[in-house]
């Protein structure tokens, strides 16, 4: 199995290998199979498990899973009620989906960095990035969808004219129209861009640090995880392994906070932005 796979020659190659997507197609039609695969699998995991609870939901004494799902629903519902003052059947389910899905995608960051890629290699898959939220396409995909919803609701609530007025006449009145428009454009575009980049940046950096921590045994031992494990006899490798485990554990514990927080921030900002889109000026 290992024969088919040529391990990285050095740290740079190892890192670059980890940051390369499995893809098909070229240019625009380049599709990141791994990102899409994990995003879809985790999305289905979320949808199926929550649907499972919903299908068996009872108004009587809830089971543990139903209890958990209800807790999540209530949590999201509270956030939406606190920040969003319009009436919409979409916002709350959207927020729930965003929080759970992003959390699950972020959670892939806590899976040991080499585990799934090594399994992939064993199955003949050369490249694999397991954390979809470290892919700009994924984070932008979500933030742009939110952005489109913002535009949709702006037009729906204020009318096309109202929305145009808001774009052109605020904040400096009609004589500063081009400047107003430019200002508003930047303001609006900053929303999806910051949403996507914040999530991407946090997770990308987190993933990179996991990769760097993984380099400890890599530099001490072999070129691959398997080789490293075979090299365990050396005392240097053992000490590196201990350091790696301690650092990895510390970073993973800290990262639990980050992945939850980032999912929460994405959800909250989505609610806030959509709430702003509903407000008349």
């Amino acid at each position: 199995m290992e024969d088919a796979h040529e391990g990285p020659a050095n740290a740079t190659e190892y890192i670059v290998h980890h940051l390369t997507n499995l893809h098909v197609g070229e240019g625009f039609w380049n599709l990141h199979l791994d990102s899409v695969f994990y995003a879809v699998v985790l999305g289905i995991l979320f949808a199926a498990s929550f649907r499972f609870a919903a299908a068996r939901a009872t108004a009587g004494v809830p089971g543990r899973w139903q209890n958990f799902v209800e807790m999540m629903v209530e949590f999201v519902d509270t956030q939406v009620r606190d920040s969003f003052h319009g009436t919409s059947r979409l916002i709350a389910p959207l927020a729930l989906t965003i929080f759970c899905w992003i959390f699950l995608m972020n959670f892939m960051d806590l899976v040991p960095v080499d585990l799934l890629p090594e399994v992939g290699v064993a199955m003949g898959i050369e490249y694999m990035k397991v954390v979809p939220t470290t892919d700009l396409n994924i984070t932008f995909g979500m933030s742009i969808t939110v952005f489109l919803l913002m535009i949709f609701y702006s037009i729906k609530i204020k009318g096309a004219g109202g929305f145009a007025r808001e774009l052109l006449f605020h904040p400096f009145g009609k004589w500063m129209m081009p400047f107003n428009f430019l200002l508003k454009l930047v303001e609006e575009l900053a929303k999806p861009v910051s949403l996507a980049l914040r999530l991407f940046g946090n997770l990308y950096a987190g993933e990179l640090i996991f990769i760097l921590i993984a380099l400890f045994t890599l530099s001490a031992g072999g070129h691959t995880l398997t080789e490293t494990l075979l090299n365990l006899a050396s005392p240097a490798t053992i000490s590196y392994l201990v350091i790696q485990v301690i650092l990895g554990l510390a970073w993973a514990l800290f990262h639990i906070l980050i992945i939850t927080l980032q999912a929460f921030i994405f959800m909250m900002l989505t609610i806030v932005y959509l709430s702003m889109a509903h407000e008349e000026h």
């Binding site: 380049n30 979320f46 929550f50 939901a57 209800e70 979409l90 989906t97 899905w101 979500m142 969808t145």
Partner: protein
């Protein structure tokens, strides 16, 4: 790292997931939660109602018991006075009976006494006559003094 078709695939997947959640998860869960909320509210209201009903029933039971107690006291009082009446009546009857018996005994005794007295009177007359006969046997002619003797006997 480049922006490419992955982004649009992700948008599609995202939209589908949100649609699914909106259609099949959120309303169902929320409905169950609201229904349970309603049930709990109903249960609490029913418990409150039950408690107030219990209180009302307790009050009613107390009033019934006290009424029964009053009634029992009343009945007891009546029975006591009735018993006293019966005893009194019996005593009066007894007294009456006693008086009647005494009277009739007295009457009988009087009759007996009178009879004895009459008898005695006859016998005394006879003894007197006999005595007188013996005294006067020689001096008095029975036939001559018969009228006198009979008058005497009648006077005794």
């Amino acid at each position: 790292m480049s922006i490419n078709v992955t982004l649009f695939v992700q948008m599609l997947v995202f939209a589908l997931l949100v649609w699914f959640t909106m259609k099949f998860i959120w309303p169902v869960i929320l409905e169950a939660m609201e229904e349970r909320e309603q049930r709990i509210a109903d249960g609490l209201a029913a418990a409150e109602k039950g408690r107030s009903e219990l209180e009302a029933a307790a009050t009613e039971a107390e009033s019934i018991v006290s009424a029964a107690r009053d009634q029992a006291r009343d009945i007891l009082g009546k029975a006591n006075s009735r018993a006293a009446g019966i005893v009194e009546e019996a005593r009066t009857q007894g007294e009456e009976e006693k008086r009647k018996r005494l009277e009739s005994a007295q009457a009988e005794i009087d009759v007996e006494v009178n009879r004895a007295r009459d008898e005695l009177r006859g016998q005394v007359a006879a003894i007197a006559v006999a005595g007188a006969e013996k005294v006067l046997a020689r001096e008095i002619d029975t036939d001559a003094h018969r009228e006198l003797l009979d008058r005497l006997a009648a006077d005794l």
